[in-house]
Symmetry: C2
C-alpha cells in the first residue's frame, strides 16, 4: 500500500558534544521518507522547499520510491532552516535559530496521484497544515498517524485537538503525553488521550524505548543502548517513518503487527542516532537493518520462566 508523508524538507545545523554538523539536509519528512522506504515501495511526499535545496537529495528520495508531485518548489525563496545545540546528556537541546522561510506560508497540496493512498503519516507540523491534508482526501484512509510536539500544545491546542479527532495513531514523547492529558501516570494519560480520538498511542521515550497503548493493552519496545549517540536529530521522525512504512507495506493494522512496526521504527531510529543527520539512513543496507532488528529481538528475549 502506498503512504502519504507530510512534513518539512529542510536544512538543519546541529551541534552536539561530538561535533558540529554544519548546514545539512534535514526536516521531518526527509527522515520519514528515508526510513519508510526500507519497507514501503511507494510514498507521496507533501511538502515545500525553496530554490536552495539540493537536487541530489531529491533524486535519492525518488530512487527510493518517494514521489514528489506534492513537493512545492518556490523560486526565489529559501527552504526551512533550523539550528540547535544539544546538552551533554543528549536528552535536551536549545534551539539557536528557526527560519521558517517557505514554511511560513505553506499550504499543502495533495496531488491526484496520492489520493488513493490508504496510509497517511502527518509529520510534526502546524496542526492547521495537518488538517488541510486530511480535508483534501476524498475518503477516510485506512490509517492516519500523527506526530506532533509540545510546541503545538502550547500555541495551537484547539487546532491540535481537532486533528486528534481524525487520527488513528498518535506518537509523542512522555512529557508531551503528560502535558496533553494532565496525568502523570502514562497508563492514565493513555486512557485520556484515547478519549481525544487516537485509538492507538505511542509514547516515545528516547534512550528508554517506546510504549504502545491500545484498548487497555500495552507493549514496551526497548531502546538499544548505544556506544555513542552522535546526533539524535530526526530520531523521532525516523521512528514514525519506520512504523508507518512497515504498516503500509504489510497492510496489517492489528495490535500484533503494530508491535512489530514499533520495533522496526525503534531499530531505524537507533541507526539515525549513530551519525549526523540523515547519513546513517542513507547508507543503511537491508542486511545491516536486519541485523539491527535481530539485536532488538535478542535484547528482550528471556525465554520462558522456569
Amino acid at each position: 500500500m502506498s503512504l502519504i508523508i507530510v512534513g518539512t524538507v529542510a536544512f538543519d545545523d546541529v551541534e552536539t558534544p561530538f561535533g558540529k554538523s554544519g548546514r545539512m539536509v534535514g526536516g521531518a519528512a526527509s527522515y520519514i521518507g528515508l526510513s519508510a522506504s526500507h519497507f514501503v515501495k511507494e510514498q507521496h511526499l507533501v511538502s515545500v522547499i525553496g530554490d536552495d535545496f539540493p537536487q541530489d537529495f531529491l533524486d535519492e528520495l525518488t530512487d527510493r520510491g518517494v514521489r514528489l508531485e506534492g513537493l512545492e518548489r518556490r523560486d526565489g525563496e529559501k527552504s526551512f532552516y533550523w539550528s540547535g545545540k544539544y546538552h551533554f546528556d543528549m536528552n535536551s537541546r536549545d534551539t539557536l535559530a528557526t527560519d521558517l522561510n517557505v514554511l511560513a506560508t505553506f499550504s499543502p497540496k495533495v496531488p491526484e496521484a496520492a489520493k488513493g493512498a490508504r496510509y497517511v503519516l502527518l509529520g510534526n507540523l502546524d496542526p492547521a497544515v495537518q488538517l488541510s491534508v486530511l480535508d483534501q482526501l476524498p475518503e477516510r484512509p485506512k490509517l492516519v498517524i500523527l506526530d506532533t510536539m509540545n510546541f503545538w500544545m502550547d500555541i495551537a491546542l484547539d487546532a491540535l485537538k481537532d486533528v486528534l479527532k481524525r487520527v488513528d495513531v498518535l506518537t509523542i514523547n512522555d512529557e508531551e503525553a503528560r502535558q496533553l492529558s494532565g496525568e502523570h501516570s502514562l497508563v492514565k494519560a493513555a486512557a485520556k488521550i484515547h478519549a481525544m480520538g487516537p485509538k492507538t498511542l505511542i509514547i516515545k521515550k528516547g534512550e528508554h524505548g517506546a510504549l504502545l497503548f491500545e484498548d487497555g493493552r500495552m507493549f514496551y519496545a526497548p531502546a538499544l543502548p548505544l556506544e555513542d549517540v552522535l546526533d539524535p536529530t530526526g530520531a523521532g521522525d525516523t521512528f514514525a517513518g519506520g512504523f508507518a512504512g512497515y504498516l503500509a507495506a504489510t497492510d496489517d493494522i492489528s495490535f500484533d503487527n503494530m508491535k512489530r512496526a514499533v520495533i522496526m521504527g525503534s531499530a531505524l531510529a537507533s541507526c539515525t542516532c549513530e551519525a549526523f543527520g540523515t547519513e546513517r539512513l542513507l547508507n543503511l543496507s537491508a542486511e545491516a537493518l536486519e541485523e539491527r532488528i535481530a539485536q532488538f529481538a535478542e535484547l528482550v528475549n528471556f525465554g520462558q520462566p522456569a
Copy 2:
C-alpha cells in the same frame, strides 16, 4: 541454595503525592528478605535492630524461611529510622530525617549456620560493613551481589572500590553508573565498571526498566507501566532480593538465567510500588506473582518479524 542477606531492618516514614505512611517497617533487608522468599527457602539475615522493633514482623520473616541468628538486637537502643518525601514525579525525593541509632555502631556478625551459604546479597550499606561480611566467610561464595548508591560514592569511594573487587554483580541506577564510571554512555559505563571487578552489571532505571550487562552482552527488562505508583520506597531492594532469590533457588548463574532473574526482580519491584512500604509484598500470593511475571513476558513479546 541458601542466601545471606545483609542490610537495614528499620523504620521508614514516607510522604508521597498519594498520602503519608506514618512510621512503618522498612529497611533494605526487610524488602530483600520478603522478596527473595518468593523463590528461596532459606535465608540468613545479617542486620541490627533496637528493642523498639515489632516482633510480629520478625515472625513473618521467620515464617518465610529467613533465619535470624545474624540479627543483633540491642536493648535500650532504637532501630534505624529514615523519613522522606517524594516529589510529584516520584523519581526524586528529599530526605527529611536519618536517625542512624543502632546502625551507627553496627558491626555485622555472620553466624556459623550461614557460613556455608553460596549466595550473598550485600544490600545498600556502608562499604566497610559490606567488606566485613565478606571477610567473615570461610570461602568465596558462588555469587556475591552488591547494591549501593551515590551516597557511598560521594563519601566512601575508596572503600566501595575495595568491595567492588570482590563482587560478581553490581546493581545501581543509571545516574550512579554514570557517576561511578565517568561515562555518559551506559555501554561505556558498563565496560569501565566491569574493569573495577563486577563481571555483571545491572542498571536500574525505575519506570524505564533495567539493563543487564555481561561480557559485552546486553538485556533490557521493561518496567510495567502502572496505573498508580503509591510508594516506590524499597523498589530497588525488592528488585535485588527477587534477583538474588531466584538465582539462589535455581542455582544457575548463566547469563540466560540472570535475564530471568532480572524479570523476577522487576515483577516483584512493580508490586512493591503499588502500596506503601512492605504491604504489597506481605500479601502477595504466588498466583498474583505468576500473573505479574506473565504480564512482563507479554509486555515485550512481539513475535518474529515478518
